[in-house]
């Protein structure tokens, strides 16, 4: 049925319908196909992709990779104060030539002239330390020439308690280099620690590092007194007071580095669980008991079960005093070669665990039969606490230094720590924390980059950002030579990196791996998509014919 033509033009007909109407129908069909295409593929496909995406906070991958390239350089200022300015300049240039080759340290040397009157008027080195010299920033050293040094000490170089090194006029620059390199900067320790962290399978054993407690923000110090037979030995010791007098000043020095919680306990009826050998009376040697070196680990193992040192999650330093009864005393520790331990201290240390002291009751009380059991034993606190402090220093990370000929140190003060030792400790902890944070971040970025299915939520993203910024800040502060602020930054970096790595959410893989995603969606959508895609061909042909048609019309 033909309809009335709306125009006065001639209408061609094909069959029933006019040609124009056929074209229009074809056009409408093509328009429908185009709209399907637009909705399904141009809008729908990206929408589907976006909505099935895993929530991942963008991470600073390039910044983390860049951390690998950056080297940690410790900047320190060394002031050389000498009587003769030229001599000072000569020393400075010699030392500078040596330290130019150092990988970790960048040392700036400043030369000043010292006043002779101050040096001459000093009665002793201690007076000199306390008097004139101004405070130095953490990490800096002053090399002070003291012409009258032979008055006080036979050594050529004397390292003080503060950040000052006194040297005699005839000291060579080689000797000063040795002192700076081995004692004050301890570059080898730092180097070894970094290499053992970065490539542990290739580096050799780092003994000092193995002994040093791992980095943590808080430690527990547990002092235990073990009395295996309280019916025979009575200990009326005021442990709290002794800790307050001896340990607390030392731990206050370390307060900026970490929190130290001191606990104490008493254990009764806990025997040694090893059998020491009885050494009978010999001319010149009293009867005593010998504890050989290889039995010592077997003391720690059963004792650990009773110590309750695992109550908190902080690493614990255990210090144990064992008081044997008179029937088992005196108990001496023997070295492997069968030689008694010299130095008068029956104590041993276990790396990263703590130390044990064997405090024998005095012989006169034991021999005196008029004293009725339980026999009271007094504590020799200076010896006991002195040993604990020595062990604590080693465990905290202050290493024993090799002797350099003709170089000596001032003995320790009551606080138990020299300022430059504290500086080295800061440096070690800073490097350890920064290296650890860097390794953690790299491992995390590798993990999260490779597995595209893990959800990275805001918390983890924030922690990672914070850690990266803190590492960069730490490196910057090290360049400026500000040790204390660099330590804060490194601590922040370490804690943030740990928090990001051990976040519980990083385990939950959305059970949505790629092959499963396609396996679910393809059977649903592919049958729909096929006609749409096939109609692309028709659309293209129609569009091409339209263009040709338009062209023809124009020509006509």
């Amino acid at each position: 049925m033909s309809s009335h033509p709306s125009t006065t033009e001639e209408i061609k007909t094909v069959g029933d319908l006019p040609v124009e109407k056929i074209d229009k129908t074809e056009d409408y069909r093509i328009y429908a196909a185009i709209s399907y295409f637009v909705i399904l593929i141009v809008i729908g496909l990206p929408l589907w992709w976006k909505t099935t995406e895993v929530y991942r906070v963008p991470l600073p991958y390039t910044r983390i990779a860049a951390l690998n390239e950056s080297d940690f350089v410790l900047v320190t200022n060394v002031t050389i104060a000498s009587l003769d300015i030229d001599r000072g300049k000569q020393l400075a240039s010699d030392l500078d030539n040596f330290f130019k080759t150092s990988k970790l340290f960048k040392v700036h040397f400043v030369v000043t002239q010292v006043q002779k009157q101050i040096l001459a008027s000093a009665q002793s080195i201690q007076a000199l330390e306390l008097s004139s010299v101004s405070r130095r920033q953490a990490g800096d050293i002053l090399l002070l020439e003291v012409p009258g040094l032979p008055r006080f000490t036979p050594s050529q170089v004397l390292v003080g308690r503060r950040r000052i090194v006194y040297f005699a006029t005839d000291t060579s620059s080689v000797k000063l280099t040795e002192v700076l390199q081995q004692w004050l900067f301890q570059e080898e320790t730092l180097q070894r620690m970094i290499s053992s962290m970065v490539s542990p399978t290739k580096s050799e054993l780092d003994l000092a590092g193995r002994r040093r407690m791992p980095t943590a923000s808080a430690y527990d110090v547990m002092v235990t007194i073990v009395n295996p037979d309280p019916e025979k030995v009575q200990l009326n010791w005021d442990l709290q007071e002794a800790i307050e007098n001896f340990l607390s000043p030392f731990l206050r020095n370390l307060a900026p580095l970490a929190d130290y919680n001191v606990k104490s306990q008493w254990l009764y009826f806990v025997p040694l669980q090893v059998q020491p050998k009885l050494v009978p009376e010999q001319p010149g040697i009293r009867k005593h008991f010998a504890l050989s070196e290889e039995l010592l680990p077997h003391i720690i193992t059963p004792l650990e079960k009773k110590l309750a040192s695992h109550v908190s999650q902080n690493p614990c330093l255990n210090f144990v005093v064992y008081v044997p009864p008179c029937s088992e005393s005196p108990l001496y520790i023997y070295r492997q070669e069968g030689v008694i331990l010299r130095g008068g201290v029956n104590a041993f240390l276990s790396p990263r665990w703590g130390g044990i002291i064997i405090h024998n009751p005095p012989q006169d009380i034991c021999d005196n039969t008029t004293v009725v059991e339980p026999k009271p034993v007094e504590a020799d606190w200076s010896k006991i606490m002195g040993t604990f402090l020595a062990q604590l220093r080693l465990l905290v990370g202050v290493p024993e230094l090799d002797d350099i000929p003709r170089v000596s140190m001032l003995p320790l003060a009551a606080s138990g720590m020299r300022q430059w030792e504290l500086d080295s400790l800061y440096r070690v902890r800073i490097m350890e924390q920064l290296t650890s944070a860097m390794l953690t971040l790299q491992s995390l970025s590798q993990l999260l980059g490779e597995i595209s299915n893990i959800v990275i939520d805001d918390e983890v993203g924030d922690s990672i950002q914070e850690a990266v910024s803190a590492v960069e800040r730490g490196i910057e502060l090290l360049h400026q030579g500000n040790l204390l602020a660099a330590f804060e930054a490194s601590k922040q970096a370490f804690l943030s990196a740990e928090a990001a790595f051990t976040d519980p959410s990083l385990l939950a893989l959305l059970y949505f791996p790629d092959d499963q995603k396609y396996a679910v969606y393809i059977p649903l959508f592919l049958p729909v998509m096929i006609p749409v895609l096939m109609s692309l061909k028709n659309i293209y042909l129609w569009a091409a014919s339209k263009v040709r048609h338009k062209g023809k019309e124009k020509v006509d």
Binding site: R210, E293, I300, L349, R352, A414
Partner: protein, 345 residues
Amino acid sequence: MRALLFFVTIFYVNEYVQAVRQIPDDILRGNHTNNWAVLVDTSRFWFNYRHVANVLSIYRSVKRLGIPDSQIILMVADDMACNPRNPRPATVFNHRKQHINVYGDDVEVDYRGYEVTVENFVRLLTGRLFPGTPRSKQLLTDEGSNILVYLTGHGGDGFLKFQDSEEVTSQELADALEQMWQKRRYHEIFFMIDTCQAASMYEKFYSPNILAVASSLVGEDSLSHHVDPAIGVYIIDRYTFHALHFLERVSPDSMKTMGEFLAVCPKQECISTVGVRRDLFPRDPHKVPITDFFGSLRPVELGINYLNVSIALPLTENTIRPVKQEEKYHYAQQFPTHLFQTRAT
């Protein structure tokens, strides 16, 4: 009598005078600082009694040789000792003649029953536990820790079945160990697995310092040892039975090496072939003492000089200790009628 005393004295002096046993330096100065153990049993149901007996046998040996409970993570998926079908309650034996009660009276199970899941196991290894997890459920190792990992249960080619409902694949395990290595959470790992086709579990490992032993190779089944007619179930697996037999003769100061332990179950005893993976382990197992993994011998250093410390002034004379107010406690009222009393008019 006096002659006897004389001889005894001579004997003791002789003992002392002779050099003490020559122990090689490696044992005394081991590179690790502490020891941990992660012992996992993954099967439930009464007929898997032998898996619980396996893991408890290893737990008992490890504890006897010195690793404290605070450093052992024991995961047992089902309770056999208090199972209503156990005719001998509160005991788990690993031999029908009931020589040893491996349950003991001081067993400390950290993950029990339904807490033994793949997720918890991987969280434990990688350290991604929820905050607030008790310390006994955490693996707080550091870069000086030697860890013994023992898995037992039903397994197949490339997987280990947990709780009859899920499985952990060898790739997941390898990745978890690699995450541990990245964070330097272990020094060396000794990986023991007693399941069917156990060797497939260690084939995908790629982190260094791991020594692995499996009770059977791929394609073989690990077999159980014997049945207890009183209970009616198999009570121990062959490999663990012979391993336990070996460990029972080890004392904390033993000189036995890991090489001997790796050879512990020859084919005629075990019927399946014991597989060993040693390419990731740099040391020679014949030079590694068994206490490096099974016992806990901390290294020891001597020769510390004590510091001459003197207190500047006796602080306690000048400081006043704050007097602690004694808190008074009282019992709560049994019937809190004071809460309901209306105001008396």
